[in-house]
């Protein structure tokens, strides 16, 4: 976990230093294919784990129910608080100011 966060910070620094270079958008475009590669590898490690595959039908059903219930509860809770969390790129104040500017124009 700390290696992963450290690598991201390193990338962040590198990206900041090289900002404005033409090829700097290339790594961002590689993210989607690499996500697919990671999921393929995750599948390999799940399919290759005999204990996990044997237990999957046995306890997996209960686990799946608990997961879906927990996630569903989270999503309902998120719907309730969504109005207080505007997009961080565009805070509600800025959004309001923009719409006011448009009205005056």
């Amino acid at each position: 976990m700390f290696v992963a966060l450290g690598l991201m910070l390193l990338g962040l620094l590198l990206g900041r230093l090289l900002r404005g270079q033409g090829w700097i958008s290339l790594p961002g475009r590689c993210v989607s294919p690499v996500i697919l590669l990671m999921l393929f590898c995750l599948g390999l490690s799940v399919g290759g784990n005999a204990t996990l595959m044997a237990n999957l039908p046995l306890l997996g059903g209960q686990a799946l129910l608990l997961t879906l219930a927990g996630v569903a509860g989270s999503l309902v809770a998120v719907r309730c608080i969504r109005r207080w969390l505007g997009s961080p790129g565009l805070p509600p104040k800025a959004a309001k100011a923009t719409s006011q500017d448009e009205r005056t124009l």
Binding site: G11, V31, I35, L37, M38, G43, L66, G70
Partner: protein, 199 residues
């Protein structure tokens, strides 16, 4: 836009190939997920660093961000409490599994220790499934419930394994919210799991 189907397809292809035993044994012996994850984090880092809106996004972080881990906690507990009505496990046992928030290594070790291997395996599977669900369904979750949905669904994993997915599908502007969310949950996992195990 990728969508969930190619993601699910790649995962299933991996499971199937490994299960059929047609991949080289070396691929299974070494955990390939971690180095690929590291590459992914590095790439995401570069793409955020090169983003001109970076400073603006960090400055726009407000205390309301802490509402998100709170919502994830309350929602998860409510959902797993409901699920305990139809399961053979008790309320506190179900809550202990839910309190892993996709942090499967830590929560399953604690639960195995305090409640036995059977519930420990359920905890391991349930929390791996939560992480998997986030990775696989992120595009769908964003479309149905907005950019906060994959973050809440990912629980404590949204600052490492599911962070690239959040960045890709919710948008890069959510990345700091995602990290704060995971940090708060990460620290709360041992507390909640031990608390529910002791009930």
């Amino acid at each position: 836009m990728g969508g969930s189907l190619p993601i699910l397809g790649c995962f299933c292809a991996g499971v199937l190939l490994a299960w059929l035993g047609v991949v080289p044994a070396a691929w299974l012996e070494h955990d390939l997920v971690l180095p690929v994850l590291w590459l992914l984090m590095f790439l995401v880092g570069i793409s955020i660093g090169a983003d001109r809106r970076l400073g603006e996004i960090v400055r726009s972080l407000r205390p309301q961000v802490l509402l998100l881990p709170l919502a994830t906690t309350v929602g998860t507990f409510a959902g797993t409490a409901l699920a305990s009505l139809v399961l053979a496990w008790s309320l506190s046992e179900c809550l202990a599994v839910g309190a892993g928030f996709a942090y499967y290594s830590l929560s399953s070790v604690f639960i195995t220790q305090y409640k036995g291997a059977e519930l420990g395996t359920v905890a391991l599977l349930a929390n791996i499934m939560r992480e998997l669900l986030t990775l696989l369904a992120a595009p769908l979750l964003v479309r149905l419930c907005g950019p906060l949905a994959p973050i809440s669904c990912g629980g404590a994993s949204t600052m490492d394994t599911t962070l690239p997915t959040v960045a890709r599908y919710s948008g890069r502007e959510w990345i700091f919210v995602s990290i704060v969310h995971a940090m708060v949950l990460d620290f709360s996992v041992p507390f909640w799991v031990l608390f529910f195990c002791s009930l």
